[in-house]
Amino acid sequence: MTNAKVNAPGEKSNVSVKIHQFKKKSQFKAVWMRFKKNRLGMFGLIVFLLMITVVLGADLYLDYENQAIAQQLSVRFKPPSAEHLLGTDQFGRDVFARVVYGGRISMFVGMATIVVSLTAGAIIGSCAAYYGGKVDNILMRIMDVFLAIPNILMAITLVAALGSSIFNLILAMGISQIPRMSRIVRSSVLSVIGQEYIEAAKACGTGDVRIIFRHILPNAMGPILVQVTQTVARSIITISSLSFIGLGISEPTPEWGSMLSEAKSQLRYYPYLAVAPGIAIVMTVMSLTLVGDGLRDALDPRLKN
């Protein structure tokens, strides 16, 4: 690589680009090879992909308006049968259809939360790490203040102030995740900045932008990616908690938390209503956690014990 830098300008860029492309691909492949060997991680990935398929393809085999929303009081509280796989609820709506459509909201909000918190967290975290000194100090002290407020309390307060619509829910949960995200980004960028290959790249005269995008970010992605899977998982639990206490997604839109909130009042006589949405949450969160764990092991085999 140093040789390439010493060569004539035309040759230099050619050679270094080739090296980088080869390296990038092989690193991704190596991670994937290690991940594939992790049986639990693969299991999580398959379960998660399956659930996404079921949830996204819902319109092909379910009717949102008729099965998940419309009330049919003649078929209230029907136990699970061939016609209603998971039974019907107190308004005669099909529980299976509601669980599947509830998954759409949970997953959508979970992913959208990541977009909000990752964008803000990446900017704040990398600024703090890259500029260091006063900027780092001020930004992190502000984040410390935010961290003092328990996550769910922050989300509750924001939802209370903004009002509970899906958009506000995403905003509230995204904002409440920013401090944690920026901390992770900061620490992983910091750990990369200190490495010798960054110093080497600098010594070769590589520009700042190229260093950030070619050397720092790809190498700092690992912990951030793991954090992303965990944050999506946690967000899904938080959404359902908020809906459960009546501050999240409200009736009649199907959502796992609000379904459970309804099921709570029927727990004595119709306990089956409380089982399905809960298992849906557990499956989603668990598969994401397994993927995250597998990813962490694959990205950094040293961490595995």
């Binding site: 769910i152 359902s240 501050l247 709570k264 949450i281 557990v282 956690t289």
Partner: protein, 317 residues
């Protein structure tokens, strides 16, 4: 030591100010007129205006915040828009329930989490280890309120062993505390396991074994003591999460704590109540963090010596 504690206590103040500012601005910069909230919809415009003037709502935002802080320092957090009861009084009656729940859940998590974590590290890659890890995975993946519902279903409705609602006896706290502890318990098991595994490979453990110390003494005397530090961090950090969890769990078991107060106040747009409730929760979480930090120095002599050497240096210079 006392100096360190005092220093840390002073460091909490900017955090509390920051938290109060954040919460105050979030609640105040959003639409909704307190005057309408208090007088109802039917009053005359002059009455609204008079009340607004009397409450100082026409002042600029920062002046209002400053006034809030100054009053709060004197112990006056305002009156509830809904019931006209002083906020502090209402919170004082509610807070003990939430604290009891959060603390007992934390204790349950420590009581079970530490031994299970140690056991699964000592028996790494055995069935015991797999069961422990599986349990912790399941507990992290479950929303605590659903866990609570399943506990009610099993212990209250099927087995009829424990009450499902209310706060009359200590028995009423068993299920809520277990449900609240689920996430802390899970992370405690994982954390204890991984730090124990790290410590168990150290040279001094091999030395302890080589000199013939009994295995129990090696594990609990040498290894666990050294593995505790990161574990204690988790306990401190998780207290805030427990507090938040307690707020959701209160809804399941109808416990009249801070959580119920918060949810009801939010629905009624009772701003002073919400600000104070969140503020108190955050302050308590910070104080618990401080206590944990101080506790560090007791379990890790390295930190203690670090502190005393700084002090010694100061004295000599």
């Amino acid at each position: 030591m006392v100096k360190y504690i005092i220093k840390r206590l002073f460091l909490i103040i900017p955090v509390i100010l920051g938290v109060s500012f954040i919460i105050f601005s979030i609640m105040n910069l959003t639409p909704g007129d307190p005057a309408i909230m208090i007088l109802g919809e039917g009053a005359k415009p002059e009455q609204y205006a008079a009340l607004r003037e009397q409450m100082g709502l026409n002042d600029p935002f920062f002046i209002r915040y400053l006034r809030y802080v100054l009053d709060a320092v004197k112990g006056d957090f305002g009156k509830s828009y809904r019931t006209n009861i002083p906020v502090l009084q209402e919170i004082a009656t509610r807070l003990p329930y939430t604290l009891k729940l959060a603390v007992s859940s934390e204790l349950i998590a420590i009581f079970f989490g530490l031994p299970i974590g140690v056991l699964s590290a000592v028996k790494q890659y055995t069935k015991t280890d797999n069961i422990a890890l599986g349990t912790s995975l399941l507990l992290t993946s479950m929303p605590s309120f659903w866990f609570a519902m399943m506990l009610i279903l099993l212990f209250s409705l099927k087995l009829r062993l424990l009450p499902s609602l209310g706060i009359d006896t200590w028995k009423h706290y068993i299920l809520p505390a277990i449900a609240t502890s689920s996430s802390t318990l899970a992370s405690l098991i994982r954390m204890t396991r991984s730090t124990m595994l790290e410590v168990i490979r150290q040279d001094y453990i091999r030395t302890a074994r080589a000199k013939g110390a009994p295995e129990r003494k090696v594990v609990f005397g040498h290894a666990l003591r050294n593995a505790l530090l990161p574990v204690v961090t988790i306990i401190g950090v998780n207290f805030g999460i427990s507090l938040g969890g307690a707020i959701v769990i209160e809804q399941v078991f109808a416990i009249p704590g801070l959580g119920q107060l918060m949810v009801n106040s939010i629905r009624a747009k009772d701003t002073p109540m919400v600000v104070a409730a969140v503020l108190f929760a955050a302050i308590i979480a910070s104080i618990i963090n401080l206590i944990v930090d101080i506790f560090y120095t007791y379990i890790d002599p390295r930190l203690k010596s670090q502190y005393t050497t700084i002090k010694a240096k100061k004295v000599t210079s």
